[in-house]
Amino acid sequence: MYIFICEDSLEGILTGVYDACASGLGHRNIHLVSCEPENYELFCEYITVSPSEEKAKKVINTILCRFGRAFYESIYQAAMSGEKQERKKMDKADAIYETVLLALSWGDGQKVLLSLGEPCVYRVFELCRATNREACHHLQFLRFSELGNGVLSATIHPKDHILPFLAEHFSDRLPQENFLIYDETHQLAAVHKALKGYLLVGAQDLDLVKIKQYSKDELEYRKLWLAFFDHIAIDSRRNPSLQMQMIPKRYWADTPELSRFL
């Protein structure tokens, strides 16, 4: 058995798919993993894949040309998932590899995505669904704060790598604002300049003090928002468990109206 250890990114995993196919070791003898295994197995050869943009692009082109946009998006979203690897479940990279193989052999991406009976397809479906959910939650629960210089800044702690999706959404929504979304888990930031596009940058050089220096208006509007939030609830319908079900506690810290209750 040969095990390809990929970097946990779209590029890394797709390079792994390329290398695995090109290795000629036989698909049945190959597994991909997206992180360094805790325990090495006996009778397995471990091959470390170094991510290559060129190889990944080739795989993406093949997927796009032969199976279309929808199939690529599923693969992409699955790769963006940050779900912790559980022993019982199939590895992300392995699921993507097998799903791509299946599509190649059937020649039909749509059909593959619907065959949830296949363990690898089901795994991709699960990962996609989780990433989508996380992305949608952040569209809703992300909060901007105005800084002294008029820039809007937000800090998030997502499980999955959804920053590009958020940046896309907010660039469309707030084209005339300068804003910054800081993803603390992945140490990345999306920076948007008014009437221009956005950039994704590493967050190593981000001044963490500066993004907390709020303007005077900010505190005023925050107070107004908190007052609105408190008054909009109906006392005779109070229902903390429903509230918690709808907005899970891990999002509370990043919202001004609920972080008060933590």
Binding site: G117, R143, R173, N239, Q243, M246, T255
Partner: protein, 434 residues
């Protein structure tokens, strides 16, 4: 009634959010619009909920009244002219500032503007129109706006507001005309249904215009909705659902909302609800509402004059299935989409997935589970390749008792409230059914 000039924005917001909270509709769905460089804002068709208040209801829009200084005396409303509550009015600019600043911080998806009747319906509707006009044209707001049409306002004003809003609604308030007459003497069925009809035909006309000229301004693109108060008057579920069905069919409404009655005024005309608002009843009505809109059920199938109320222990779909065992079991690999929709435990999404997935391979119970079918409800009613999941009987009493053992029949949040929400009328229903 005196307008306090010195009131701060904070005080006004507190009073007018308080006054608006009994309105149910806080959805931002139905409109899809991407942003452009000039405006701030876009709309997502599915709608986004930005937070959830302590009662677990979503906060999607900045839900406020323009004013709670009302000349009407509707008995169920805390803002009626006889009740002793602090009064306040916004100015159009204050509403605009709040909306814009909240929107850019991603607190809200847009504005929900309702109002008490200040001076006259026309005067109030004009103020609302001015607010929307400024928001759209001075502040270039491109987000979602849900606005109430004021019953009795001039049709021209309603039309002008409709071209600025995404969704409009006029509250039906009470399911029957008698109830309305008794509790809201200044409102009548006529003044409520007339603007509703006007908006409906406006939307239809506008659709034709857009077909001819793509850039024609949109009139109420997200459709109209309404809401009814449940439990303030003695209507049965059958009457309520029949009204809702008629509204969907004759007025093309997008949504009908149901609001469990809360006695805010301690008014002697209204029932006292010692168990709190009838939340479980409201929940069942919403479930049935979904069956009407997404599952092709009709009210006559779910309820009848002899059985006018929903079973509180079972959801309406299970309840229907148990009484119509002649339709079951359904073969998953062959049944039509519409038949699948009627099986408890199969939602419209999973029905769609089943229809697509069975083209490639035969489906088994394990596949159904992955597709998202709730097997603990569905297993009594389906076969896969001619086999049932377990050795279950197709027998009314047996299935009924098995389904009742499933605690999720009553949603967790209502159940965990220690069932305090079960009201006297609910208990009557339970006794009548047992």
């Amino acid at each position: 009634m005196k307008v306090q000039q010195s009131m701060t924005l904070m005080e006004k917001l507190s009073i007018l959010a308080d006054a608006a909270k009994y309105d149910v509709a806080c959805t931002s769905s139905g409109a899809e619009r991407s942003g452009d460089k000039k405006n701030m804002g876009n709309c997502v068709a599915a709608g986004l909920c930005h937070t959830f208040a302590a009662d677990g209801r979503c906060v999607s829009l900045l839900k406020i009244l323009f004013t709670n200084e009302c000349i009407f005396n509707c008995a169920y409303c805390q803002n009626n002219c006889n009740s002793d509550v602090p009064r306040a009015s916004f100015t159009p600019d204050e509403v605009c500032a709040l909306t814009m600043e909240f929107y850019r911080r991603n607190y809200i998806e847009g504005l929900f503007l309702s109002s008490g009747i200040l001076i006259s319906p026309n005067y109030t509707m004009d103020l609302i129109y001015q607010t929307l006009y400024r928001l759209r044209n001075t502040h270039h707001f491109g987000g979602y706006i849900h606005v109430k049409a004021i019953p009795g306002a001039d049709p021209l004003l309603i039309e002008k507001a409709g071209f600025l809003a995404d969704r409009m609604s006029i509250n039906l308030e009470l399911p029957t005309a008698e109830g309305l007459k008794k509790l809201a003497p200044y409102k009548s069925r006529n003044t409520i249904l007339k603007p509703m009809r006007q908006i409906q035909s406006g939307i239809a006309e506008n659709r034709n215009e857009i077909a001819v000229y793509r850039k024609a301004p949109r009139f109420v693109p997200a459709g109209q909705s309404t809401q009814m108060i449940i439990g303030a008057t003695p209507e049965s579920d059958f009457q309520i659902m029949s009204v809702a069905e008629a509204l969907y069919q004759n007025f093309n409404l997008k949504r009908v909302f149901y609001s469990a009655f809360i006695n805010v005024n301690q008014n002697a005309q209204l029932p006292v609800l010692p168990g709190g608002p009838p939340l479980l009843r409201e929940h069942r009505l919403y479930q049935a509402d979904w069956l009407l809109r997404y599952y092709h059920f009709t009210v006559d199938e779910l309820l009848s004059r002899e059985r006018p109320d929903f079973n509180i222990y079972l959801d309406p779909k299970c309840d229907w299935a148990i009484r119509h065992l002649e339709f079951f079991p359904v073969e998953i690999n062959r049944a039509a989409y519409h038949t699948l929709l009627r099986v408890p435990g199969i939602g419209y999404k999973s029905a769609e997935r089943i229809v697509k997935a069975r083209r490639t391979s035969r489906l088994d119970f394990a596949d159904l589970k992955k597709i998202g079918v709730v097997l603990k409800r569905a297993l009594y009613f389906i076969t896969c390749s001619g086999r049932m999941m377990y050795n279950t009987k197709l027998d009314e009493d047996y299935i009924c008792s098995s389904l009742m053992a499933d605690r999720t029949q009553i949603p967790r949040d209502i159940r965990e409230g220690g069932y305090r929400q079960m009201t006297l009328s609910d208990m009557d229903m339970a006794i009548a059914q047992s």
